[in-house]
Amino acid sequence: MARRDGQSQNLGSRLVQLGFLAAVLALWYLATNRWGVNRLLLPNPLSVWRQLIDVLRSGEYLPDLRVTLTELAVAFVLAMTSGTVVGFFVSRTRYSIRVFEPLFAGIYSIPIILFLPLYILFFGLGPSSKIALGTTISFFPIVLSTVAGFGNVDRTLVTAARSMGASNYQMFRYVLVPAALPVILTGLRMGFTVALLSIIGSETIASLAGLGHHIVQLAEGMDMPRMFAYIAFVVAIAAILNGAVSFLEARGRRRLG
């Protein structure tokens, strides 16, 4: 019974979400076709749609997509590795948690994107600066959740495992990791999202290639329909990536009960 209620509620909220999207599209159409909003500010949704089809058919997005995705993948792997390793070692003593946790939380709360000019100076206009910035920004949610995950394992479980003779490796593999993983997975998803945001964002500010870079180029060429088409494309890519990461997170959780 409760399950059915949940399902119909879910369906209801989905309908509202779809209705909202449809309303936005309708308003957009009316604004351009009826209310005479300047085409340079807001292109007609139909011409955007035609441009989008053209972009997808021609495959001209491929080099930029490849650059952005490579930057994202490298940055995320670096942040994931360093964040989980550093987080694990920080979580080992109360003292190091007390020292480092507020430090990481403090840095996490400042907009690191402000340091983009420095990153450009150090790493140049190419992908290296995007990777370095993305790694830095996504390191903090990952390290914080790893510290929280490993730092809050139920003491009773650790004591029980110790009383049964668990070795250090067994303790790590069968007690600490499964206990900490749900929290760490949340941190990884957050880290992935901020890496994506900061990489595309920094591409729009100072870069030589990438999807963000391409969008800014189109804007500078006043090619509004094509720029909107690219924005829609990037939104779709981001939605797919975030959906995939959320799916992996849920699967990782389920496997561990």
Partner: protein, 271 residues
């Protein structure tokens, strides 16, 4: 009594948390000595904070006492002894991400039991506690009483000579507790394990124990040991017998003063 009959010897054990003068300084145990015979069930009972659980952790090698020593089978305890001693904790000591049978197998893996023995031993211990049908349930899907049965099955599968139980039924309701107590008595009559059982419940102590060690208020030490001469398995009728009532009353009288002392000390601190 010869040394061979002795499973655990507690010699002048004292324990304090923190250093003298510190705010968190607590003297939990003071010069406690106890001899526990092989195959005996000893209950530790006493007011809250009297150091019963601390003593259990010291015996199990999970905690080093600040004074005195513990011997298991004639050897001094310096750390956990998974081959000799298994624990059952108050609650939530099952790994929630593993099923009941996975929890039992993991215990055997930690203890170093050969893989081939995992399956038969797990099945045997689950049958012993009446949980065979729930082998593939997760702890979160079981009631509190069933979770404690599963924890007991995990401890039994380790086939240790000594079982340390720290208020294993403490978080359960009175009725579940009664049934688990009866089942435990039946189970233990068959196994010949040495058991040290910490409890708050007078009835539970009299019903299960061969001897009951009554602790004084903090810093705890053994005030008196009461013998319960009644063969295992104990029948439910034992609870309504005069002998049971007399022993329970004796325990109550012994404990009452100690609990008063604890309460007035706690009250004095908070005012």
């Amino acid at each position: 009594m010869t040394a061979g009959d002795l499973a655990v010897r507690v010699k002048n054990v004292s324990h304090q948390f923190g250093e003298a003068g510190e705010a968190q300084h607590v003297r939990a145990l003071l010069d406690t000595s106890l001899d526990i015979k092989r195959g005996e069930l000893l209950c530790l009972i006493g007011p809250s904070g009297c150091g019963k659980s601390t003593l259990l952790n010291v015996i199990g090698g999970l905690m080093a006492p600040t004074g005195g020593a513990v011997e298991v089978a004639g050897k001094p305890v310096r750390g956990p002894l998974p081959r000799d001693i298994a624990f059952v904790f108050q609650e939530n000591a099952l790994f929630p991400w593993n099923t009941v049978v996975e929890n039992i197998r993991l215990g055997m893996l930690f203890q170093g039991v050969p893989k081939a023995e995992h399956e038969p031993r797990a099945r045997k211990s689950l049958e012993a506690v009446g949980l065979a049908e729930f082998a593939n349930h997760y702890p979160g899907q079981l009631s509190g009483g069933m979770r404690q049965r599963a924890a007991l099955a995990r401890a039994l599968s380790l086939e240790t000579g000594i079982l340390l139980m720290d208020e294993p039924f403490g978080a359960l309701d009175e009725q579940t507790r009664m049934i688990l107590g009866e089942d435990l008595s039946v189970l233990l009559a068959r196994t010949e394990k040495t058991i040290i059982f910490v409890t708050h419940s007078l009835g539970e102590a009299v019903f299960l124990a061969d001897r009951v060690a009554v602790f004084s208020a903090r810093p705890g030490t053994v005030k008196k040991i009461i013998r319960v001469d009644e063969p295992h398995p104990r029948k439910p009728e034992f609870v309504t017998s005069e002998k049971f009532a007399a022993l329970r009353n004796e325990l109550y009288a012994l404990l009452h003063d100690e609990i008063r002392k604890t309460v007035s000390e706690t009250a004095a601190r908070s005012f």
